[in-house]
């Protein structure tokens, strides 16, 4: 007596899905094949399959993950390989699992992003000598057996034991030092600040030390506030713009004459940049050219202390393709043009010839080794 008012709708949905599933059953295999066709149809001259495992976060984080990914894409394009694939890590517990899925799929080059993946990348490299690994921000530290060294003595020779594993390590102190030169020079109050994500990440600590040392070089009386958002490398440290903004606002409220602020805190730092803009002071970006990556804060970003991630990753891929790759830690510094300062854009007029000379001198000193960016404040 009652009409099936909902039954019809549900039935139709179910039917269409079963129908779709049936069609899919036949086309399933070809679909997965064809979906990769467009990328390969450009006529790849190279069949290397490249995969990238991100650190916790997203692929479009305007930071580490994104620019490493750009590097993988550029590297693949440069050598004529098919477009790379990515697996995004959502929890640090999954690093090993995510690397393994590329291993299981028989990829040729696996890029892992971030120092936190170092341990699992080392293990995978040891277990899969036929696969090339590129670890971004990973110093290779192994025992004489080529295992991850639990005592961190790094007795083993990475290049020999794990020739398939390039650990790309940037000398962050160098761009930090250059940023410090700029900050110390443009500060009118002689009071500058830097906000880091967390002290326990060596890269962050190195940037900060270089910054302090660079500023002290140009102004021996400079006061430098170095503060860290978090005690550990968590979301608060690197993935919390709102938290970073609040943290920076607090710092600026307590230190009213600070007029240059350097951020070393990933996405959290993007909030730091906003706070600097709101306070009408100068800001310095980190890792990438933040004038481009965070246009909302471009109006106060004087420059950025750059690690040229895209170039570093694509170069490493090219080395694999050209079979010139060597395992072990690959130090990346100013001598290979892997670090530097981003352009000044609208702030060019702020950089007097005198300041430019200081920068040039510092770069020269860093290149020839006469300037140690880890002095007097020590790097980690």
């Amino acid at each position: 007596m009652r009409k099936p008012r909902y039954g019809l709708g549900a039935g139709a949905v179910a039917a269409s899905i079963i129908l779709a599933a049936c069609q899919g059953g036949g086309a399933g295999n070809s679909t997965s094949g064809s979906s990769s066709t467009p990328s390969t149809s450009a006529g790849p001259s190279n069949s290397l399959k490249i995969g990238l495992v991100t650190d916790v976060g997203t692929l479009d984080d305007k930071n580490f993950n994104q620019f490493s990914w750009e590097g993988a894409k550029k590297g693949a394009a440069d050598i004529g390989a098919p477009a790379p694939k990515s697996v995004v890590t959502t929890a640090s517990a999954d690093y090993a699992k995510n690397i393994k899925s590329f291993v299981d799929q028989k990829f040729d080059i696996i890029v892992t992003v971030g120092f936190a993946l170092g341990n699992d990348t080392t293990k995978a490299a040891k277990a899969n000598p036929g696969i090339k690994f590129i670890g971004v921000d990973q110093g290779v530290c192994v025992t004489e057996q080529g295992e991850p060294d639990p005592s961190f003595g790094c007795k083993g020779d990475g290049a020999k034991l794990l020739p398939n594993y390039q650990g790309l390590v940037f000398k962050e102190a160098q761009p930090g030092y250059l940023a410090g030169i700029v900050a110390g020079s443009i500060s009118k109050s002689g009071h500058i600040a830097a906000i880091g994500g967390t002290k326990v990440v060596p890269a962050v600590a190195n940037y900060m030390a270089g910054y302090a040392n660079g500023a002290a070089k140009v102004n021996p009386n400079v006061k430098v506030e170095l503060q860290y958002v978090s005690d550990q490398p968590d979301a608060k440290a690197f993935n919390d713009p709102a938290g970073g903004k609040a943290f920076a606002e607090q710092l600026l409220a307590k230190n009213k004459d600070v007029d240059v602020l350097f951020q070393v805190a990933g996405k959290t730092g993007n909030g730091v940049l906003q706070a600097a803009c709101n306070a009408n002071i100068h800001a310095i970006g980190v890792d990438v050219d933040q004038h481009l990556s965070t246009p909302e804060s471009a109006k106060c970003i004087v420059t950025s202390a750059e690690k040229k991630l895209t170039k570093a990753v694509s170069d490493a891929i090219k080395r694999v393709s050209e079979k010139t790759d060597k395992g072990g830690t690959v130090p990346l510094d100013i001598t290979t043009d892997s670090i530097g300062l981003a352009p000044f854009y609208d702030f060019q007029n702020l950089i007097t010839p005198e300041i430019q000379t200081r920068i040039d001198d510092a770069m020269k000193g860093l290149k020839d080794g006469s300037v140690d960016p880890c002095k007097p404040m020590k790097c980690s």
Binding site: G24, G28, L59, T90, F152, D231
Partner: protein, 370 residues
């Protein structure tokens, strides 16, 4: 106990999963223009990759089981709480505390023989988890502090505590970034495949034990009675306060075991900022499994398969891993909005009481036990 009853119990979870897959498919199609142009076939290739990544090879199967292990344990931790009418949201904290305890003790005994080191490290994780679960139980029983509030708070306490320990007293000497020392011989042996570690057996064993305890012992009867009707339990001479403390402690024990298993079986140490969703995914597992150990085993395997297969889905179909979170969220949504599912599929309300959902709803208004 009949087939009919089984069908009635299963219908809503199964339909919720089905609806979630439909919603996921729609999302994929709608978002496909952002990737490679509109592709109505994307859901099929994505789900095909998902299935193949979860079950397509012996390696994939092992990964599914390994991924499911902590989910099953955390699901049991939440599910047993549901049986006693408690909503334990503290699985995350209990997991972390168990993990850090196992990492610390594992590192301390890392040079002893595995026969000694493994049980000690596991015991540490289990005891720490149980103790951490006991705290909200005690607070609930003697101060009336609601377990939903206290367990959420204790999650944050755990995160900060673990952060302090790993960057402070437990920090490995010489490590460039903060992490605990390696657990050495306390690492769980790999039994099958490339990463099928001993911890998998814990989940396999925990499920029948939990089932037996709940349904075949007087203790389980007390737990279920306290959950179904605290007043009737008191009338029957049971001690609801004791039962609540015990239940939350056992939940903590299971979550702690999950944490210990992950550290000893997979990573071998605990890094600073160790992140996982296992504690919260456990809530989904428990709800989807209708708080029944067997159901939790099945739903844990399902979510484990989704986690394991999601990588191949990213690699082959280019569908972001977040789709899995969406699926999980939609499943939860439909489980909670049971009425909606009944409407869509015209299912009459079963007379079976769904105690875990009652707990979820009731836990926002419930009273202090006497």
């Amino acid at each position: 106990m009949t087939l009919k009853r089984a069908v009635r119990l299963l219908s809503i979870p199964v339909l919720a999963i089905f609806l979630a897959l439909v919603v996921g498919a729609v999302l994929m199609i709608l978002s496909s223009p952002l990737i490679n142009g509109l592709d109505p076939g994307l859901p099929l290739s994505a789900y095909a990759a998902l299935v193949s990544g979860a079950f397509g090879s012996p390696d994939a199967l092992v990964q599914t089981v390994v991924s499911a292990t902590p989910l099953i344990l955390a699901g049991l931790a939440v599910g047993i709480g549901f049986k006693a009418g408690l909503f334990n949201i503290g699985g995350q904290g209990q997991f972390l505390v168990g993990a850090v305890a196992a990492a610390a003790v594992g590192a301390a005994v890392s040079t002893a023989g595995g026969v000694v080191a493994i049980p000690l490290a596991l015991l540490a994780g289990v005891v720490a988890g149980a103790a951490y679960g006991f705290i909200p139980g005690f607070l609930k029983a003697y101060t009336g502090a609601h377990e939903v509030v206290t367990t959420i708070m204790l999650n944050y306490v755990a995160i900060q505590m673990v952060g302090y320990l790993i960057t402070g007293p437990l920090r490995a000497q010489g490590a460039t970034f903060a992490r605990s020392p390696s657990v050495g011989n306390a690492a769980l042996p790999v039994l099958f495949g490339s990463n099928g570690h001993l911890g998998v057996l814990f989940a396999v064993i925990a499920v029948p034990i939990a089932w037996w305890l709940l349904f075949r012992t007087t203790i389980g009867f007390e737990v279920r009675t306290v959950g179904a009707s605290p007043d009737a339990a008191r009338y029957a001479g049971m001690r609801p306060r004791l039962v609540m403390m015990l239940t939350l402690a056992v939940g903590g024990l299971l979550a702690g075991l999950a944490g210990a298993g992950e550290i000893l079986g997979i990573s071998g140490y605990m890094p600073a900022g160790y992140s996982t969703n296992v504690g919260f995914d456990g809530i989904t597992v428990a709800l989807l499994g209708r708080a029944n150990p067997i159901g939790i085993l099945l739903s844990g395997l399902l979510l484990g398969a989704m986690r394991a297969g999601s990588n191949l889905m990213q690699i082959q179909a280019g569908v972001p891993v977040q789709v899995i979170d969406v699926l999980q969220g939609v499943i939860l949504f439909f489980l909670a909005a049971e009425l909606l599912v009944r409407r869509i599929f015209r299912i009459r309300a079963a007379r079976v009481q769904v105690d875990e959902l009652q707990t979820v709803t009731r836990s926002y208004s419930s009273q202090t036990p006497k």
